[in-house]
Assembly symmetry: C2
Homo-oligomer: 297 residues x 2
């Protein structure tokens, strides 16, 4: 029997791309919301003996946690042979230390929660900063695909004179790899964070700006303020309008509009989170890592 | 050392009532929401060796599940001697069977989820229908207080000529007990449910209506449609405007306004869910059951 892929509603387009790559059958998962804040997950009942793969992107993880748990447990109750999770965006990874006394250590707690429900996990570019890799967080097989090759490919085709900028030191790992693959120059700016939304960026002296079209690359745009400040800094230095590329289109609140208003020539993202800005598909990379991690047969 | 009670924000008033009854110290729990759907729970760090009691009412259980889990695990990480949960309203109890094939069995799954996080649980009148008691759902010590005595007391003081009505057979258990304690007559109507919001009520012939002020009593008002129909039926029979009494003020969407618009003379609830209609305190009953169930010393 073929493996089964069951997508939470906003991930159905990606599931349709993944299913043939994984040799899986895409079936429907329903997630119904009640006005009292409860919800009801319904699976196809015929899962006995099958490898079941859930596809859920973990933006809004609080809202998704219990439905995910219920879905995994129900698949097991229906006799699934294995229950895996493809989470193209893995939430909570930024809360990787107690920034103030008493805070919950959300990154390992969330990982443990997922590890109790699923047999394996595959994701794309988790925001690993203090945790060097997923195996430090997960007791189950957990691995990630790097989006750098598909981003470098997109840049090569669409912005051949790109000059890459990383808005802060945390973006270094992504920018350096994309720059290497795209064979384009890059520069990483320094960020000083003051509270949740106030972010200052200091731009080092550089001649790089005059070399082509600026492309600002980051793994996540959440409040969007990091992108906004970087756009403002480049603009103040007389650069051309920059293209903003993000792996994960979190775009909380008015982030997307704020980045456009700050003068972005264009905003481009991968499809790890469904958004109008999606132009780069991670499906082939994600299928590869899921097949290996989940030992999909 | 005194036990510690930590309330989720909307439960702080009830925690202030419970703390002296439990001989507990009320400390602050912070629950901060980020615009990307993540949140951060912060506890007082000095919990080592103490009995920790969380107070969270489980309306909106999807949104609360992960913060509850994180809070419990963090209290353990800080050395709590025990970690209990007072959940004055226990969500998900109505999903106690697969009404259609493939549905998650939410009531036992939610109970299991809570049982993994907490050492014991105390609640008020859970909606137990197909599950006869909490011990069938929970592997941890779990017990409930019945609000009937405080409701009967309130009715005796405020509506001495009350004639009680239960809107459907599921309300029988609550109405019969309140009527017995208040020494007032009661009658239970028959409900035929058609889908989520469409509910029909058939009123049996009765002389009871002419005996006093109608009081419609139910454990939960969620969509409010059951209350609305019952009000309409009583009105069509020429009864006086009825008082609506509910244990749990779930009131999803416009439920509260709909019940008022249907002609309720007054809507009264207990404080298991914080709401403007709260007039009856469950604090003493809840303190008793929590002390016994959690073996609070």
């Amino acid at each position: 029997m073929k493996p089964v892929i069951l997508a939470f509603p906003d991930m159905r387009p990606l599931a349709a791309d993944l299913a043939p790559l994984l040799g899986a059958e895409q079936l429907d998962l329903a997630w119904r919301h009640f006005p009292d804040g409860e919800s009801l997950v319904t699976l196809p009942p015929d899962l006995a003996g099958r490898e079941v793969i859930f596809l859920a992107t973990l933006r809004d993880p609080d809202r998704l946690a219990l439905p995910l748990r219920f879905a995994a447990e129900t698949a097991r109750a229906f006799g699934a042979q294995s229950v895996g999770l493809i989470a193209p965006y893995l939430g909570y990874m930024r809360q990787d230390k107690r920034f103030h006394p008493g805070e919950a250590l959300s990154a390992p707690l969330f990982s443990a929660f997922l590890g109790e429900s699923f047999d394996w996990l595959a994701t794309v570019d988790p925001h690993l900063h203090r945790n060097p890799d997923l195996s430090r967080l997960f007791a189950i097989p957990a691995a990630h695909a790097a989006a750098a090759p598909v981003i470098a490919d997109w840049i090569g085709k669409n912005i051949p004179d790109a000059v890459l900028f990383g808005p802060d030191s945390e973006s270094q790992q992504w920018v350096a790899e994309v720059a290497r693959l795209a064979q384009r120059p890059y520069e990483v700016l320094q960020k000083i964070r003051r509270g949740d939304r106030a972010v200052e960026v200091s731009l080092p002296d550089s001649d790089t700006l005059r070399g082509g079209t600026p492309v600002i690359l980051d793994d996540i745009a959440s409040s969007g303020q990091t992108m906004v400040r970087t756009l403002q800094h480049l603009d103040a230095l007389g650069a051309n309008a920059a293209v903003c590329v993000v792996i994960h289109a979190v775009f909380a609140g008015s982030a997307y509009e704020d980045i456009l208003a700050a003068g972005a020539a264009r905003i481009v993202s991968t499809n790890t989170i469904t958004h109008d800005s999606n132009e780069i598909s991670v499906a082939p990379l994600l299928a590869d890592v899921a097949r290996k991690t989940g030992r999909i047969t």
